[in-house]
Point group: C2
Chain length 435, copies 2
């Protein structure tokens, strides 16, 4: 068997995971690759027990790995978008194939990097960038190649899914669960990236580009985090037959594409609603196959390494036969990537969940419903609870029929202006996810 030489840059969680997976299952992986995969050079700033393997060269300067003429495939696992970009560019220019787990790099600089890779006749693969170990890039890019994708919706950030799951089952407040997630290592010290949906937006942009053949465009995503959600909302949603999930949603309609990350009520019959904890899951609706769902570990050393190795094997299989990987980075050739207009959020139509904190007075409900009905928004379901003893306010929960966001926000502003409305109206989009 031919030997394919691998250079790994970065020995953090994913880097160590990749070295370990290749060591633990090397024989089985080589059989899949039809070649002997050999890590010959590691670039890591700090020393690490994994570096002490005979035959592996270790460099403190990761660029030494890129410049190593023996390396066939460079594996970029350092993260970030500055040095990582420079590294990937230099590897491509040196004629090396590249595998990365770096979603920010692909979401933000994918277009230019893919063009560069294509120019130099090498592959740039990134299965690990979205949904960890779930082979979702391959499914979308190859497995569903017979479909035009109508929409996709995914739980693509394990941190926010863990937080919402915990808040729901244990009726605990956001801040409380966030602290636990940080203690467990599921959330960073600065959790902004996860809880505000930025990480999910990066992944969504990648999925949408493959699904619709559109350019990667991180600015085209509406992003809303989970920090406003309360245990009360999770309970009310459940009472209405729904669960709240933090979803990345990409839709293609005649009006254009619409990419958004936000908390979403989804029907409890949807399997997606039962995906809890740090798990990830993506539901894709294709024109021929209908909806298909993919679930699994969205993060962690070994699951992410699983995706990195799958990319390596794909490339190695071709190199072993003296061929080149042919599947384009986004599943179609760069010249058929076509910009499609974005649907402005104001025009996006979904049902809505509204939670009002109102005075416990006669006539309040009738005022609220007449404001909604004047704007053509009808009510699908309603919950009004008796006031807690000694309290003057009640919660009023409304599930609307589908309504344009502009209409809905207009109605909400009017409701908030009522004297009987005691605080801002909580509003969460609803998606039925029907095929």
């Amino acid at each position: 068997m031919k030997t394919i030489k691998l250079g790994i840059c970065g020995l953090g969680t994913v880097g160590s995971g990749t070295v370990n997976v290749l060591a633990a299952s090397g024989e089985a992986i080589n059989r899949r690759a039809g070649a002997t995969l050999e890590i010959t050079h590691i670039g890591a700033r700090r020393d690490n027990a994994l570096c002490n393997t005979a035959g592996i060269k270790v460099s403190r300067d990761i660029f030494d790995v890129v410049d190593d003429p023996e390396i066939d495939i460079l594996i970029e696992l350092i993260g970030g978008t500055t040095v990582a970009k420079e590294l990937v560019e230099r590897a491509i220019k040196a004629g090396k194939h590249v595998v990365t787990a770096n979603k920010a790099l692909i979401a933000e600089f994918g277009t230019e990097l893919f063009a560069l890779a294509s120019e130099h006749g090498v592959a740039l693969r990134y299965e690990a960038a979205v949904a960890g170990g779930i082979p979702i890039i391959k499914a979308l890019r190859e497995g569903l190649a017979g479909n035009e994708i109508n929409w996709l919706a995914g739980i693509i950030n394990g941190t926010t899914n863990f937080i919402l799951s915990e808040m729901g089952t244990a009726k605990r407040a956001f801040e409380d669960v966030l602290a636990e997630a940080q203690a467990l290592g599921y959330a960073e010290a600065d959790p902004t990236f996860d809880v505000e949906g930025i990480d999910a937006a990066h992944k969504l942009v990648i999925l949408a580009a493959i699904a619709f053949g559109i350019p990667l465009n991180i600015n085209g995503v509406y992003t809303e985090g989970v920090t406003r959600i309360t245990p009360a909302d999770l309970s009310f949603a459940e009472e209405l037959g729904y669960r709240i999930k933090h979803l990345g949603i990409a839709k293609l309609t005649d009006a254009g594409v619409n990419l958004r990350v936000h908390p979403t009520l989804i029907p409890e019959e949807q399997l997606l609603s039962r995906v809890n904890g740090v798990e990830n899951a993506v539901l894709i609706d294709g024109s021929a196959v209908g909806p298909t769902l993919y679930c699994g570990a969205g993060a962690g050393a070994a699951p992410t390494a699983s995706a990195v190795v799958a990319d390596i094997v794909d490339i190695a299989r071709e190199l072993a036969a003296d061929q080149l990987p042919q599947i384009p980075a986004l599943g179609v050739d760069a010249d058929s990537i076509t910009e499609i207009d974005s649907v402005p959020m104001a025009q996006v139509v979904t049902p809505w969940y509204l939670r009002l904190n109102v005075q416990d007075k006669p006539g309040v409900m009738s005022k609220v419903s007449s404001i909604l009905s004047e704007r053509g928004i009808s009510i699908e379901a309603l919950i009004q609870k008796p006031p807690t003893k000694g309290q003057q306010s009640v919660s009023l929960v409304v599930l609307t029929n589908p309504a344009e966001q502009a209409q809905l926000l207009g109605a909400v502003a009017e409701i908030e202006a009522l004297e009987t409305t005691l605080s801002d109206v909580m509003r969460i989009r609803v998606e039925t996810l029907k095929g």
Copy 2:
């Protein structure tokens, strides 16, 4: 773009679906393929409106399609294993790549057909043979290439899943629901193939061969149908926190491989337990990624066509670049396919669900539990219902801890011999499906 010429043999459900999908989404599919896919020849015994497309040659003798020197990829959709085998062999010998949806053909004759394809340097692809539109072959063969597969368990027959789901929700008897499934076209007039698990066994053999790198061996599967299951069992299972699903299960342990198709109690927390109706789903436990789940339509014209087209696109992408598809049929080269000993069913260890129909007398329960405990089988949970008014018998439901089948069957025989036991003991295996 290069033109890749397709010959389709068989215009039944899947054949028509394939022609329709290629017509409906041709442009999008060509972009994925990097080539113009063109159906130039159809072999169909009867005339069909789909044959009346300009430029498509139609032959009554399907072998005329195989012998057509222009065809690059032959798509076998006639089903069966006699003519289909001859057709595929002749196509391979003529140097054509082959795509098929024929699970029986692959499960029974895959080994020789793959060898023949390899000898002639062509690809033989069969994504549509298992779980319809779910790209499960690709996921297992390529997406999880970084893993050693520990086990997989799947709902891989839509007919039996529909029957069990309906029996459970509507508390209807097997025969009753089977008749409805037949009326809806979900079950054949002769349902044996589906309800006795033969179809699922074919699919399981294919999945196991890819998962473990073992030869396709249809004789190595233990197969048990769903005909014995009653609505009462579904209710008791639910009461115990489980659902009953007809699963194909393949496990690899130090003792060997074990392939079986049988009704199975699985915990309701498992997403697989919520996959209802004609849907299919496969759960795969990989050494690096842990459990990943794949769900979607397991049958039907368009979903199956989705899988057929994905295979065509995979092959076309390589041909368009004057390369050959390199991924071996089972994900590893034929010479590394290795026979692994089978674990005899008598030695397979699982928890068990037992339903006894016993006399409503003191001491019965103590007899039963002492028989179990003498054989080292401990009881995990128990349901005893008061007798229906006027009846002398009661149902006694026992959930055991893991026990070897031989031990369990011995105990069951002893329990059935008791005077107080009024009919055969219903026994169903339990799987927790923990990663």
